[in-house]
């Protein structure tokens, strides 16, 4: 069917969008229905918010407020300036009004779960907002204007990667990409934040997509959503129909439900047929992708002028009485949210941050929601059986059939165990996207992804140590060279010594040198006098 459509596209000039077959993937049970039963709930303002600014080691933090200061909602609190190439600054804003009580490191619920510099804000309950100004007529802002507003609003990729949206838009260049894809696939089990958002606020998301299209100068805008989300699709279709005044501005593609269909490169291939070259950014192949959550945040920032102070997060798991989606303020503690869902603490076995396949165990219940926290699972003891023991690899190849990057996990495993770096690189270790599909199907229960992650870290560390040793070797060699050169100079000067008297004898009649010396001496004494006079004058001024 797809071949037929491609044929039609080639000969009839039109280029319809359709879902292509992608390689690999799995179809796990999704358990999405539980959190979709209720509508999105705006979480109440907690008594205390701990707003993460960013990991201190990856950039420079400039604080705009001090401890004890009272701040208003939407007020800019700090700016994080990233060292990394292609990333600029990301500001954070106060989610509510209150007083800053401390600025210190705290655990943040992002994928690394490391300590980040955070601002703790005690809310005063008034929720007094700074005056903000929206610009519903975004076209008037122009591309650069939109980008700078987005940057000012502190929006980063809400899908999970957390790349600053403004930088992503700015990275497209003036020509603009061919495709802007709004990623609503949300293929990972348990997570329903995007689906719930589309179901209830599709209009705003479509508006956000229009703004993103304007800002990036993309020629075509495509919404990609899994075909198993009928409510969200209906809402989206309705919204697209209503906004059709700007002719044929957006297309909708239903993609087959499969994990990891929503992974950036896989989705690009599925929707456009472009296979993004390894090592290149998708924009270099003419595709820009944004998450629906990001599109919504952009809409809020441009049309309503609200900076990014909240996000949509799914709370689910059997230990919760009422699993649901929250519009949660950045900086809310996870245990506060669990309480809101009626957690049964005795029943909770484990908290998982993220979905069931790419998520990690939540190490601290005091961790705070950041701009990339998309899902929290409070799993009950029933939900998590005793882990099956790891067995020997029987090379069944199920993992290779499931791998969306067409890698051979069974081979990578063997090479990882023997630390065969050359073979690991040749077999594409760094093309692994850590999706966990191989783990999911492995009949021997081998922790493949964690093994590959370890290998990646080992190789990266090794490469860095090589770079470092290269650097130090270079410095050492240069030092040796310098010492040798100095020695040589001394030696050559010593050799020249017997010839010196002759030279001096030759130079003796030449008095110009002496004159120059005298002139310079006079000049020096004059300079000194002038300097002393200046200092005196300044001292006098001060005394006056």
């Amino acid at each position: 069917m797809s071949a037929l459509k491609q044929f039609a596209a080639k000969y009839f000039g039109e280029d319809p969008v359709f879902a292509r077959r992608t390689f690999g993937g799995i179809q796990p049970p999704t358990f999405k229905e539980h959190s979709l039963r209720s509508r999105i709930m705006s979480s109440p303002i907690p008594p205390q918010l701990t707003i993460p600014i960013g990991p201190g080691n990856s950039g420079e933090i400039s604080l705009l407020v001090g401890i004890g200061e009272r701040v208003l909602k939407y007020q800019k609190l700090a700016v994080m300036t990233f060292y990394a190439e292609g990333r600029s600054e990301v500001p954070v804003h106060a989610p509510t009004s209150g007083v800053i009580i401390s600025i210190e490191d705290s655990v943040v619920a992002d994928h690394s779960q490391q300590q980040q510099r955070c601002i703790t804000l005690a809310s005063d309950g008034h929720d007094e907002a700074k005056k903000i100004e929206g610009q519903p007529d975004y076209v008037r802002l122009g591309s650069a204007g939109i980008v700078s507003k987005i940057r000012d609003a502190g929006i980063i990729g809400m899908g999970g990667a957390g790349f600053p949206t403004a930088d992503k838009l700015a990275g497209c260049g003036d020509a603009g990409p061919e495709f802007l894809i709004i990623n609503a696939a949300e293929c990972e089990p348990y997570i329903t934040a995007d689906e719930a958002l589309l179901r209830e606020r599709a209009d705003s998301v479509v508006m956000g997509a229009k703004i993103l299209k304007q800002a990036s100068a993309a020629r075509r805008c495509i919404f990609a959503i899994e075909d198993t989300k009928p409510d969200a699709i209906a809402a989206l279709q309705q919204a697209l129909k209503e906004q059709l005044s700007i002719a044929a501005f957006c297309e909708l593609v239903l993609i087959p439900s499969k994990y990891p269909a929503g992974s950036e490169r896989q989705l690009i291939q599925c929707v456009t047929g472009i296979e993004v070259t390894t090592g290149l950014h998708p924009t270099e192949n003419g595709v820009l992708m944004h998450n629906v959550g990001t599109a919504y945040a952009v809409y809020e920032a441009i049309v309503n002028g609200k900076p990014c102070i909240s996000r949509f997060t799914t709370l689910c798991g059997q230990a919760l009485k009422t699993p649901k989606n929250f519009e949660v303020l950045i900086g809310t503690a996870t245990d506060y949210l669990f309480e809101l869902c009626g957690i049964e603490p005795t029943n909770k076995q484990k908290s998982i941050l993220g979905g069931s396949l790419m998520g990690n165990e939540l190490t601290s219940d005091k961790a705070v929601i950041c701009k990339t926290t998309n899902c929290l699972i409070a799993a009950s003891a029933n939900e998590i059986p005793a882990s099956a023991p790891e067995k020997a690899c029987i090379r069944c190849g199920f993992c290779a059939d499931a791998c969306p990057s067409r890698l051979l996990p069974q081979q990578l495993l063997a090479f990882s165990r023997t630390s065969d770096t050359t073979q690991l690189l040749e077999h594409g270790l760094f093309d692994c996207i850590d999706c966990g599909a191989c783990d999911y199907v492995c009949p021997s229960h081998i922790p493949l992804v964690s093994t590959f992650k370890e290998s990646k870290t080992l190789i990266e560390n090794h490469e860095q140590s090589l770079l470092r040793s290269d650097y130090w070797q270079h410095r050492f060699q240069f030092r040796q060279y310098r010492i040798k050169k100095e020695k040589d100079q001394v030696l050559s000067r010593k050799k020249e010594v017997p010839e010196q008297p002759v030279q001096i004898a030759e130079q003796a009649p030449n008095t110009q040198n002496n004159e120059a010396d005298i002139i310079s001496k006079e000049q020096a004494s004059r300079d000194i006098a002038a300097a002393v006079a200046r200092v005196k004058a300044r001292r006098d001024e001060k005394n006056k």
Partner: protein, 384 residues
């Protein structure tokens, strides 16, 4: 309801190695039942002996290697090896032959290389090949109790009316057939002179490749045309029905996604193409029809159950296809131009030799890379 698991990633299909092996065992049942029906208890006795010695050898080796015996025995891989080996061995082989072969399979071909997952060669076929080289006479005769072939058939041919009771007595699944099968497996148990006489007289030799009988036409077809029962023990349809049973078992494995289609399809189509190419109607006796090659011998069990052993086979998709082609070509060559009647074991072992090489050179193109494994060169243009 349990839906998650304890470590990252927190979800799993719930399928494990033991289940895969279990499915494989189930898939073998139709073929075993057909063999039992046509050839009597020989195959069952083989299976019992093989499983007994396999479990003993596996436990002993696990113990020597300081592994948890129960945990490793429960993966059922030793059972699968024993079953495949027992099916390959001619029914009516003496017990020591079966025991020797399975001990070689488990101890030398499997555990000395590092146990499950580490053996470069298919253990069952290693044992079989060893026996074929060391005991060629015992291994090339297909001993089945006399009654199976000659009992009712001779009686019918001579026009002697035999009663149902007598037929029961003469049936391979009757008590007499069982006794004879036991005597074949345990010759030392023959206590009296009559038993020995019965034992010696009770041998019939049937080669697995019933070339001449099937040369012109499928025996199944012939039997149907002549109105004979397909399942009558005196008919010549036995091998075809056994092969079809294994084919059904293999399709079941495909349906349950225990094996992929690549290896069986490559083997079967290679044999079919080669047989079709070399077969000439005038020279049937030499090369045999394609149908004979597919259904007149152990092709189906080889293609679906033996060559697909994941540990020793190629694991990449293109590699599996080449692996199947190599095995198919070897099977046909050895059968037609070689000196062994059936050739699955040597062909599979030859394929095992090639597997690591195939895994290295027949790799799928990595997503986002060019064909040679290097990242694709790009000029930044859009290629929708």
């Amino acid at each position: 309801m349990s839906s998650l698991k304890a470590d990252t990633p927190f979800q799993h299909t719930g399928r494990n190695v033991a289940q895969l092996m279990q499915t494989l065992l189930y898939a073998l049942l139709p073929g075993i039942a057909a063999s039992l029906w046509f050839f009597g208890f020989g195959i069952l006795i083989n299976i019992v002996i093989a499983i007994t010695f396999a479990v003993l050898a596996e436990s002993a080796m696990l113990r020597l290697r300081n592994r948890d015996i129960r945990a490793h025995l429960s993966d059922r891989s030793a059972l699968v090896t024993a079953l495949l080996f027992a099916i390959a061995i001619p029914p009516g082989s003496p017990w020591w032959l079966v025991a020797l072969g399975i001990l070689f399979s488990i101890v030398i071909a499997k555990h000395l290389y590092g146990g499950l997952g580490q053996n470069p060669f298919n253990p069952a076929m290693c044992g079989y090949a060893m026996l074929l080289l060391a005991f060629p006479i015992e291994m090339t005769g297909w001993h089945i109790p006399n009654e199976v072939i000659n009992g009712p058939l001779t009686a019918d041919a001579l026009g002697i009316p035999i009663t149902t009771a007598e037929r029961e007595f003469l049936s391979p699944l009757g008590w007499n057939g069982f006794k004879q099968a036991l005597l074949l497996a345990f010759p030392f148990a023959a206590s009296s002179a009559t038993d020995v006489k019965e034992f010696v007289d009770g041998l019939a030799l049937a080669t697995p490749l019933i070339e001449f009988k099937m040369a012109g036409k499928s025996a199944l077809l012939a039997a149907r045309e002549s109105g004979a029962s397909l399942f009558a023990r005196d008919s010549e349809t036995a091998w075809e029905i056994i092969n079809i049973s294994y084919l059904l078992g293999g399709l079941f494995l495909l349906y349950r996604k225990v094996i992929s289609w690549h290896i069986p399809l490559a083997i079967i189509s290679t044999i079919f193409l080669l047989a079709a190419t070399f077969y000439a109607p005038g020279s049937v006796a030499i090369y045999g029809t394609p149908y004979l090659h597919l259904f007149g011998s152990a092709t189906m069990i080889g293609a679906f159950f033996i060559a697909t052993d994941p540990v020793s086979a190629a694991t990449t998709r293109p590699g599996k296809l080449v692996y199947g082609i190599i095995i198919g070509a070897s099977i046909y060559s050895i059968r037609v131009w070689g000196s062994y009647l059936d050739s699955i074991a040597f062909a599979v072992l030859f394929g095992n030799f090639c597997a690591p090489f195939l895994d290295h050179y027949c790799r799928p193109r990595i997503f986002g890379h060019g064909l040679r494994g290097k990242p694709r060169p790009t000029d930044g243009t859009i290629k929708p």
